[in-house]
């Protein structure tokens, strides 16, 4: 009987422990969501600003001159075979291609916060459109 009770006790502890563990796995709150969304929107705002500045290139051309509101950029189709580059690439490779070619600038490093900001802005302006990776 005691053995049985001990077993129950240990099992009970285990279950409680697990319960506690589950309850705290990713316990984000509404306040967290708000905070993280603000961080994201700050990146979108920075990307918006870079997109409309003429500072990414050397010839004063800015991205919005061919892509007002980041239109016609198709972020939902990446990765895909990019004709101009001759291989399958992600969105940031194409962003860099545009910076190097129509904007005659220097490409950004893949982990440059500016690159993340640009991607945030471009995808944000295309929110809600279904993914179609690989589409030309």
């Amino acid at each position: 009987m005691r053995k049985y009770l001990s077993l129950c006790f240990v099992l009970g502890l285990l279950i409680c422990g697990m319960g506690l563990f589950i309850a705290y796995a990713d316990p984000f709150t509404e306040a967290d969501l708000k905070k993280w969304n603000e961080a994201f929107m700050a990146a979108v705002k920075e990307g918006d600003s870079l997109f409309h500045s003429s500072k990414l290139g050397k010839n004063s051309v800015s991205c919005d001159m061919c892509h007002p509101h980041a239109s016609n950029a198709h972020p939902e189709t990446y990765p895909k075979f990019q004709k101009q580059i001759g291989k399958v690439v992600g969105l940031r490779e194409m962003i860099n291609w545009c910076i190097q070619n129509p904007l005659e600038g220097t490409p950004l490093a893949a982990d440059d916060p500016k690159m993340v900001a640009l991607e945030a802005y471009i995808t944000y302006e295309r929110r809600g459109v279904k993914l179609e990776p690989g589409k030309h």
Binding site: S71, N72, P102, R126, V129
Partner: protein
């Protein structure tokens, strides 16, 4: 030899008479008292956006577009009657940009008729333009066609005179197409009154061409593909039976028919704007009629740019000279209800680059 010519001429006349009887189109024309006037062609170059980087350094891409258009217009044989410049010669309305643009245009061998664009206007409110190019709005006649040039890119007085601290800031704000701080274009009351007066002496059957920089109808307000008082302007034009409205600003193949009014957009020599349907977050009024131009390859900086020439007056035949692409013709012959692309209008005839946006 002379005998032969007489027989041929006789046959030609007989054929024409037979055709006139057989085709109701000609009968309708004759019934309306509309004499088909002498056909003529004019060329246009538009939206060159010459941009100064610093000093004598200009954006090479846009310079190349204007240069190329000038050479090709001069290549036309026979020559066009005149050239229309559709607006936005300069990018930020600077004297240096105008002068650089005029330097490239000086090789044009036919008279130039000027239409002002917002990039030309908002730095000095049209001062340079009126001194060196043309009045802001005016009219002229050519071979029986009455041409009216409007300044359609005005905006409200507050935005124009009070909102911005400097003319340069105002120009920069206007230069950004997708500007949330922008203000819609308008023709405004003074010009509308002038237009009414100017058209008072024109017969309703006479061919009328209205030139403006921005489209005189409503397509997409966030990009100012829009005229706020479009309905009022259209109301002044509606009584006329043969009206073509030609405009720049949109940098793309675009055409539409609203009532009696046929709209045709000029190509830009500088860069293409995307179609308004490519911005998914807001609704738009893209004309269903337009067959889009082929999707551009940004590797070729001239893809999506070009110039054109237009044949008048009974119908309109708009020849789009699209660089890096086959040419396209959008026409509305007498009897047609609306303009159509001569090759691609029917959905079954479209090709992938026109559908795959």
């Amino acid at each position: 030899m002379k005998g032969k010519m007489t027989r041929r001429t006789f046959l030609k006349t007989a054929g024409a008479l037979t055709a006139a009887v057989a085709f109701p189109v000609s009968r309708v024309e004759v019934a309306l008292g509309q004499k088909p006037g002498e056909k003529f062609t004019f060329a246009y170059i538009s939206d060159s956006h010459i941009t100064q980087i610093k000093g004598t350094e200009f954006v090479r891409n846009f310079d190349n577009g204007l240069k190329k258009a000038v050479v090709e217009v001069n290549f036309m044989d026979p020559k066009p009657d005149f050239l229309i410049f559709g607006g936005d010669l300069a990018q930020l309305g600077k004297k240096e940009e105008f002068e650089h643009g005029l330097e490239m245009l000086k090789d044009i061998t036919v008279p130039i008729k000027w239409v002002i664009g917002e990039h030309d206007y908002y730095l000095d409110l049209g001062k340079y333009w009126q001194e060196k190019m043309a009045p802001l709005y005016y009219s002229f006649d050519h071979k029986g066609v009455h041409f009216v040039v409007l300044n359609s890119i005005l905006t409200d007085d507050d935005w124009t005179h009070k909102r911005w601290p400097t003319p340069e800031e105002r120009m920069l704000q206007m230069a950004r197409l997708d500007n949330p701080n922008g203000s819609p274009f308008m023709v405004k009351e003074d010009q509308r009154a002038w237009l009414k007066k100017d058209l008072a002496k024109i017969k309703q059957e006479s061919p009328l061409v209205v030139l403006s920089h921005s489209p005189l109808y409503k397509i997409f307000k966030p990009w100012n593909f829009w005229t706020d008082d479009a309905e009022q302007v259209q109301a002044i034009l509606n009584p006329f039976k043969n009206v073509k409205i030609l405009h720049g600003h949109v940098h793309q193949v675009l055409y539409n028919q609203i009532g009696n009014l046929t709209f045709n957009a000029f190509m830009a020599t500088s860069w293409p704007w995307p179609y308004v349907t490519t911005y998914s977050q807001l609704p738009n009024k893209m004309p269903a009629l337009t067959v889009p131009m082929n999707r551009a390859d940004p590797f070729k900086e001239r893809d999506g740019t070009g110039w054109g020439h237009i044949e008048l007056p009974a119908g309109i035949a708009h020849h789009y000279e699209l660089w890096e692409n086959p040419a396209r013709v959008v026409q509305k012959t007498p009897g047609m209800k609306q303009p159509e692309d001569t090759q691609y209008q029917f959905p079954g005839k479209r090709i992938s680059p026109q559908k795959h946006y």
